[in-house]
Each structure stands twice: as structure tokens, then as C-alpha cells.
């Protein structure tokens, strides 16, 4: 007979509590190993044994027993309710109201955060528009200044390079108060990232060339450069010269003069 078969034969006696101590201990040790078949046999035997309760002659307890029980149970229920209220100090419906308020606060906070985000985005967009307007206004101002420089009779025209068709042409128009407008055509683009730089050559031979703005021609070999605040006076400048310089320009010329024109 296998061990499990033996234990299953003990299941009814075990459920009944009739097994001797050594057999009961052996069966319990076996159940502790996790044997599902024997465990099921015991659980089913417990049900059969529980049905023996119907064998007892049917008798009703006294009414007093129910009265005593209900009295105890009611008192304990009331004590439990009082203890719960004392612990929380807050009736249950108040918790509902608090929960609703918390929910409202959370929703409001979320809405506020969303509004703040939208407001920040709107402010950022407005700042961009403002900057664009300022840029356009600045360009317009420069265009106006450039136009005045080009048309004013007080302006002085300086030719830096003038040749035939397809040859470079570089002109500077200098207004003593409004600045210099430098225009060019048919200019070959400088190599790599290099640029053309304008220099003011002083009349005093002891003074060094004064560096001014830098520019690169477009794909068609043209450029227009407005120098609104030249670094020197026209009266003290003998000529304007252009050299090719590294990107960003130089403090002193690093290459030979490509084009030059005198102020008078």
C-alpha cells in the first residue's frame, strides 16, 4: 500500500479527531509536504463529518440566549462606532466633502498650471513678434538712412573699383553725419569662410588703417553694406580700402588691398 493511500484511509478518522496522536502527527507532516490529493481527501472528509451534526436531536436554545447575545453585540457595535468617531473626529460624510474639496483644489491647480503655461507661451510669442517688429523697424530705418546717404547732395562718392562689363565695381558713398554705404557688383566670393573688410586709411601716414565692417557678396557677386557709424571722420580719412580677411575681420590688414578709393 502506498503512503498516500494509507493517509487517505485515515482522512475520515482525522476529520473526526479519532486518530491516535502518532498517526495524526504523521498525517499532518505529510499534508505539510503539500500533497494535494491527501489534502483534498481530508477537506472532503471534514464535510462528511460536519454532516453528523444532523444526528443530534434537534433542540432550540432558550430565547434568553439570543437576548443576551444581541445585548452584547449591540453594545460592542456602539462602542466600535464611538471609537471610530473618536479616532477620526470626523463624520463619514465630512470625509466625502473633504475629498470633493481636495479634488476641486487639484483640478483648479491643474487648470492654473495649464493657464500659466499658455500665458508663458503667449508672452514668448509676443516677445518674438516684438523682436521681429523691431528688426523690421531697424531695417527700415537703415534703408531710410541708406536712401538719404545715396541721394543727399552732401554725400561724397568714392570709387574703389571701376572697370568694364563683367569686371568688379565697388562704390562707397559717405555722408559725414549718416555714415557710409558701400555697394559692389561682379565681386568674386572670397575663399572658404573669408570676408571682405573695409578700412579707413588716415591722412596722417603715422596712423594705422582703422578697421571697419565686414561683408560677403551674394551668389550674384553683389553686396550693399551700410556703415552707420564709421570709426573715423571723413576729414581725417585719406581713402577707403578693402582687403580679404578671415571670418569676423582683423584689427590690421593681413592681406594686400584689393580695392581702394580716395575721399577727395
Amino acid at each position: 500500500m502506498s503512503t498516500c493511500q494509507q493517509f487517505r484511509e485515515w482522512a475520515e478518522a482525522y476529520a473526526l479527531g479519532a486518530l491516535d496522536a502518532s498517526q495524526r502527527a504523521a498525517l499532518e507532516s505529510h499534508l505539510a509536504t503539500g500533497c494535494q490529493d491527501c489534502r483534498k481527501a481530508v477537506e472532503e472528509a471534514r464535510w462528511v463529518v460536519s454532516q453528523l451534526a444532523h444526528w443530534a436531536p434537534e433542540t432550540a436554545p432558550s430565547v434568553l440566549l439570543k437576548g443576551r447575545l444581541l445585548q452584547t453585540v449591540r453594545a460592542e457595535a456602539k462602542a466600535a462606532e464611538t471609537a471610530t468617531q473618536a479616532q477620526t473626529g470626523t463624520p463619514w460624510w465630512m470625509w466625502g466633502a473633504i475629498a470633493a474639496l481636495l479634488l476641486f483644489a487639484v483640478m483648479t491647480e491643474r487648470a492654473t498650471l495649464q493657464l500659466r503655461t499658455e500665458l508663458r507661451e503667449a508672452e514668448h510669442q509676443a516677445a518674438n513678434y516684438q523682436k521681429e517688429i523691431q528688426d523690421v523697424e531697424a531695417k527700415l530705418e537703415l534703408a531710410k538712412r541708406e536712401n538719404v546717404i545715396l541721394t543727399d547732395s552732401a554725400s561724397v562718392k568714392i570709387k574703389l573699383a571701376e572697370a568694364g562689363p563683367e569686371q568688379p565695381r565697388v562704390d562707397a558713398i559717405w555722408h559725414a553725419k549718416l555714415g557710409i554705404v558701400l555697394t559692389a557688383e561682379n565681386i568674386p566670393a572670397p575663399a572658404g569662410g573669408r570676408v571682405f573688410q573695409l578700412w579707413l586709411i588716415p591722412k596722417d601716414p603715422n596712423n594705422k588703417p582703422v578697421p571697419s565692417a565686414v561683408v560677403r557678396p551674394d551668389e550674384d557677386g553683389r553686396f550693399t553694406l551700410l556703415v552707420a557709424n564709421p570709426p573715423g571722420d571723413m576729414a581725417e580719412t585719406r581713402s577707403l580700402a578693402i582687403t580679404e580677411e578671415p571670418a569676423g575681420g582683423s584689427l590690421l590688414p593681413t592681406s594686400p588691398v584689393k580695392w581702394v578709393g580716395t575721399t577727395r
Partner: protein, 196 residues
Amino acid sequence: MFLAAFTSPANREVSADATLMRGLLQNDVGAFERLYDRHSRLVYSVVLRILQQAGTAEEVVQDVFLQLWRNAAQYDQSRGPFVPWLLTLARNKALDTLRRKSERQRRREDQAEELPPVTIAAPQYEKALDEKRAAVKVRALMDSLIPQQKKAIELAYFEGLSHSEIAEALKEPLGTVKSWIRNGLLRLKEELQATS
């Protein structure tokens, strides 16, 4: 209504007990009273049969139901149907009381403060077996047993005696006592199954 038509009365009873036990968790005195009304008679009958004394039996029944009330959270529905579990609890308590009274050595732990974690597996046919039919069947079967076999099961169930104690009390061989008890319970199982 449609679903109710396919639910057996016994099954609804089980479900009702589980619902009442959940009510106890909410300190529902009404649920406790309904639970008591449903089962106190059967519980008291078993306990009185074991203790043979009305006063002591009522004390034990009171203890059983107060344990349900105070430790309802310990009742685990997954461990099996409620009524067999309640009857097992009541019988164990009554036998413990009996042993204390007769100063026998106790073989079970005193479970005065905790509900027993026993698991009971009800057969499928339990759902079709109401209490009245089960009672009739159990009594009829016990009456059909030979007197010595009936006495052996009686001593085991109502007095909590072990195989050896029963053999000694009846002056019968131990093996015979074991066979009587096991065969009697297996017959009971078959009869209840047949009834369903």
C-alpha cells in the same frame, strides 16, 4: 430573475451566509441576528448533545457566535462553505469544554480567541442538498448501522474519543473499530450523494 431560476436554493443559502458575514465586518447587528436565527438551532443541538447540559451548551453557543461577531474578518470564504465550517467550530469548542470538564488531556489547541483556519471541501452535490434532507438521511443511516458501529461513531463524534479509546470503551479490537468508523462515514458520504 433569469439567473435566479438557475441558482439552486442551497447555493443561494451559501451566498446569503457569506453576505451576512460581510455584514458583520460592518458591525451590522441585523446581519448577526439573521445569522443567529438561521443556524443557532443546529449549532445548539450538536453542542448540547456533546455537553449534555443546557447551561454549559448555551455558554458554548454564545461563545461561538460572539467569536463570529468579533473575528468575522478571519472567516475566509475560500476555505469552504459556511455551515460545515460553523459546525466544525462549534463541535471543537464543545469537545474542548467537555475535555476541560472531565480533565482529560486536551488534544487540540484552545481556540477561544481565533476562528479555526480549517478548510472544508464540499462536494458538488452539496448545492442540491438542503439541511432538512441531509438531517433525515444522516439519522436514517445511523439507525441502519449495527449498534456497536453506531456507538463507535457516536463516541468519536460526540465525545471526541480516539480509535484506541473507543476500542477500550467497547472492548473491541482496534482494527475493527477503525473499520466501523471509516466504513460508516464512507456509507454516509455515499448516501448523501445518492440523496442529492
